[in-house]
């Protein structure tokens, strides 16, 4: 069995009076793990702790066998870590190449020839090779997101922490990005926080659901999807008794819940169905919502 590359035990974090993380236990190995949860669940806090930019208040954190609390070990972890923050701004006037090059220097790529080759490689990897010399402020939101992602991919790090990497990307770019991340996941440990359940379904072997600072589910994606089997129904009208009812593209309603609606037709659940059912009563969506 492979040893955990990332290991958290009893990790807690508070911000003034608010509990952001409340005793997180998590052990990650090479592969792609999806992190789901509503806004305010503690996902970003968890990722920031793993990215070594935020210390935990309590509990034990081990990254690649090292303790990020110790300055020397933290530097060692950072040498083997890639991090895409939820929001990343850019220095004014920099081109995509210049920014990623700057980050490469910070990541100790000191040989200019090798560094420039690596910068070109990651920019190609995210599909920005042709516009690398354009100023970032002239790029679209999706392109900026890919510049941010490119810096995280420098050196194909052993641990990659990505906070909503697909935000702002069009469907084609998302599919392409999934392919890149899946490749990386063959050898690296990836933790991908997202609100896009389809990204998790397509990319991840494992999913962690976080809510109110606690792990509500941690296991294979297929197992989570399986928990929703027999609870998803299509019907002509919304089911008032359903936990969630949403109109689909065909004009019929997708109802989630234990009861069978009149004229209900059982369908195979998706990860989103399973996630919403897991969240249960706390899920924001009520009948007669999304169109």
């Amino acid at each position: 069995m492979t040893t955990s590359t990332v290991s958290l035990s009893g990790v807690r974090k508070r911000f003034r009076g608010t509990v952001a993380l409340d005793g997180i236990d998590l052990h990650l190995r090479p592969g792609v793990t999806g992190l789901l949860g509503p806004n305010g669940a503690g996902k970003t806090t968890l990722l920031r702790i793993l990215a070594t930019v935020l210390p935990a208040d309590d509990g034990d954190v081990r990254m690649l066998g090292r303790d990020p609390h110790d300055p020397r070990q933290r530097t060692d972890v950072r040498r083997r870590l890639g991090y895409l923050p939820q929001e990343l701004g850019f220095p004014r006037g920099m081109s995509a190449f210049a920014f990623v090059d700057y980050m490469a220097v910070l990541k100790e790529w000191d040989d200019p020839g090798r560094r420039h080759a690596e910068v070109r490689r990651v920019l190609d990897q995210v599909g920005l090779g042709d516009i690398a010399t354009k100023r970032i402020r002239t790029l679209s939101g999706g392109q900026r997101r890919r510049v941010a992602l490119a810096q995280a991919l420098l050196g194909s790090p052993e641990v990659l922490v990505l906070d909503e990497p697909t935000t702002g990307l069009d469907p084609e770019q998302r599919a392409s990005l999934r392919h890149v991340l899946a490749e990386l996941g063959r050898t690296s440990t990836l933790l991908v926080s997202t609100h896009q359940t389809e990204d998790v379904a397509a990319l991840c072997d494992r999913v962690v659901v976080l809510d109110e600072g606690r792990v509500h589910y941690d296991g294979p994606v297929t197992d989570l999807v399986a928990t929703a089997a027999g609870h998803v129904w299509l019907s002509a009208a919304p089911d008032a008794a359903a936990q969630v009812s949403a109109r689909t593209g065909s004009g019929r309603y997708r109802n989630l819940g234990a009861g069978v609606p009149p004229d209900g037709e059982e369908v195979a659940p998706t990860l989103e169905d399973a996630y919403l059912l897991l969240r249960g009563a706390s899920a924001a969506t009520r009948p007669e919502v999304a169109a």
Binding site: R78, P85, L88, S156
Partner: protein, 304 residues
């Protein structure tokens, strides 16, 4: 998007990273529009006064001090703050904040180099259009070199370092504007006190502890030059220690552990040298202000 796997984590020595980073920051500094404006105005002003026959050549240094100095302070502030939007990613990189600050401080060598070039050009101008001998007042060649070096290369370096300090320690909007106003007020008030009462030790002390000072005043009819108190060489040393103090203070912001202890010790040593140099600058040089006339004769200025 393409995908290839290259697990290739580099492991560079910190010195090598500082060099590379300093090179990047220096390039950004040298290309910054404000710095280029400063260089341009320094050149234009130099050309304009090249064959000027008025006997105030010793005040030429105000040109680079202002255009290279003040503008470099703003440039280095902006460069230092420019990565703030990307702080989350920058902080997750193995290069420490102290190393990043050290690189920014080294980029201050760009305005310093511009100051050296200005200095060299000015000496060429002096060789082509030599000022009258009496225009140097009581200062010999070494004093003049100290004065001009302080007002050009060291002014550029010091201002750039001060910009980094402000950016690292003062995080409120308009911090650099406030810093520039305080700096100018400090310099001008020190000169004003000396101008009102040239023989006073207080005036000399204020001038010698200011980051910029003039050394002479020419009378309105250009008939004589008054030399003010103070030692140019010791003032130059004082300014260099201020530069070292600024770099130390800037790096101290993110320093921890042993690095912090070392920086505090270096800062303490620099502070002691600065105080001693300021004392020597105030008490050194001529004993009393002197007035040099066009015929080369000198007399003591007892009252302004």
């Amino acid at each position: 998007m393409t995908s290839t796997l290259v697990h290739d984590a580099p492991a560079a020595a910190p010195a090598s990273t500082v060099r590379q980073l300093a090179r990047l920051e220096a390039r950004r500094f040298g290309r910054h529009p404000l710095f280029l404006v400063g260089v341009l105005f320094s050149v234009i002003t130099m050309v304009a006064i090249a064959d000027d026959r008025s006997p105030d050549s010793l005040t030429n240094g105000v040109i680079p001090s202002f255009f290279l100095g003040v503008l470099s302070m703003v440039v280095s502030y902006r460069l230092t703050r420019s990565t703030a939007p990307a702080a989350e990613a920058v902080d997750a990189a193995p290069t420490s904040g102290t190393t990043r600050t050290a690189a920014l401080c080294l980029a201050g060598l760009v305005p310093a180099a511009a100051g050296v070039v200005w200095l060299a050009v000015m000496y060429v101008v002096f060789a082509v259009w030599p000022p009258d001998a009496w225009a140097w007042a009581t200062f010999d060649a070494a004093d003049r070199l100290a004065i001009f070096t302080a007002q050009s290369a060291v002014a550029g370096l010091g201002a750039a370092l001060l910009g980094v300090v402000v950016a690292r320690w003062l995080r409120f909007p308009g911090a650099i504007v406030l810093a520039v106003v305080v700096l100018l007020a400090w310099v001008l008030s020190a000169q004003a006190v000396a101008a009102v009462d040239a023989p006073s030790t207080l005036g000399a002390a204020l001038r010698m502890t200011a980051p910029f000072t003039v050394w002479t005043s020419v009378d309105p009819g250009s008939a004589s030059i008054d030399t003010w108190l103070g030692s140019p060489a010791w003032h130059l040393l004082y300014l260099l220690t201020l530069c070292a103090l600024a770099a130390t203070a800037a790096m101290l912001r993110d320093a921890a552990g042993r690095t912090r202890v070392v920086l505090l010790r270096v800062g303490g040593a620099c502070a002691v040298v600065a105080v001693l140099a300021a004392l020597a600058a105030t008490t050194g040089g001529i004993d009393e202000p002197t007035r040099t006339s066009r015929d080369g004769s000198t007399s003591v200025v007892s009252e302004h």
